[in-house]
């Protein structure tokens, strides 16, 4: 399945774009997405941490991704 991944803050700079498309097998989890992203964009590994949000909620690493999900890379937040 093809998933569109949104990027914000420093992740946007690392990807060089506000979003990117990735290819994963059906039933892939957040953990598999993270591994793929870290491989494609090694600078993500240098971050203090990053989370994946699915449909506007933080998702755990065993969360199963579905086509059409709104998926985003959430680098360490710093609002306020």
């Amino acid at each position: 399945m093809t998933l569109r991944i949104l990027a914000f803050g420093i992740a946007k700079e690392i990807l060089g774009s506000t979003s990117t498309l990735v290819e994963l097998h059906a039933g892939a989890t957040v953990k598999e997405l993270r591994i793929l992203l870290e491989k494609q964009y090694p600078r993500l590994q240098k971050l203090a941490s990053f989370m994946i949000a699915v449909n506007n909620e933080y998702a755990s690493s065993d969360h199963v991704l579905q086509p059409g999900n709104e998926i985003a890379i959430i680098p360490p937040v710093s609002g306020g």
Binding site: K12, E13, L47, A72, I74, V77, G79, G80
Partner: protein
């Protein structure tokens, strides 16, 4: 009453306070963030705030709901700016009204502390010799 806003416009403090005031509340605590002129002694030229707006609004509403439930608040308001802010500008206003002041203080502090930890908003500090996304790196 819960009022959550993300905007590029200047935040109006008096308006925020009017919104949370109610005749059955005895105290309002307001936290106002302001852009500081330095970070660890290094001169800050400006900040740039970016939000994942749909998710940030949802997360802020969750926090507000938690606080209302926990402290039996009358009203919670969280306004956050995005875009370019200069020294002295106000990126965030949190206002909490409660029947008694202890609840207002505790809730306001919880809200700003938790907002800074969980709400998907980012700030970049622009210095004279470069810039940095705050908290991005260890």
């Amino acid at each position: 009453m819960i009022d959550i806003v993300i905007t590029e416009e200047i935040l109006n403090i008096q308006q925020c306070i009017n919104k949370v005031q109610s005749d059955d509340c005895g105290g309002i605590d307001v936290f106002i963030g302001t852009v500081r002129d330095n970070t660890k002694g290094k001169k800050v030229l400006r900040l740039e705030f970016e939000a994942y707006e749909t998710m940030a609004l949802i997360e802020m509403r969750k926090l507000a709901k938690n606080a209302v439930d926990k402290w039996s608040l009358k009203s919670v308001l969280i306004y956050h700016r995005t875009g370019i802010l200069h020294v002295g500008d106000v990126p965030v206003i949190i206002a909490v009204a409660a029947a008694h002041r202890d609840a207002a203080f505790d809730a306001c502090r919880y809200l700003i502390d938790t907002l800074k930890q969980t709400v998907p908003i980012w700030k970049k500090e622009i210095f004279e010799d470069g810039d940095i996304w705050v908290s991005a790196h260890p």
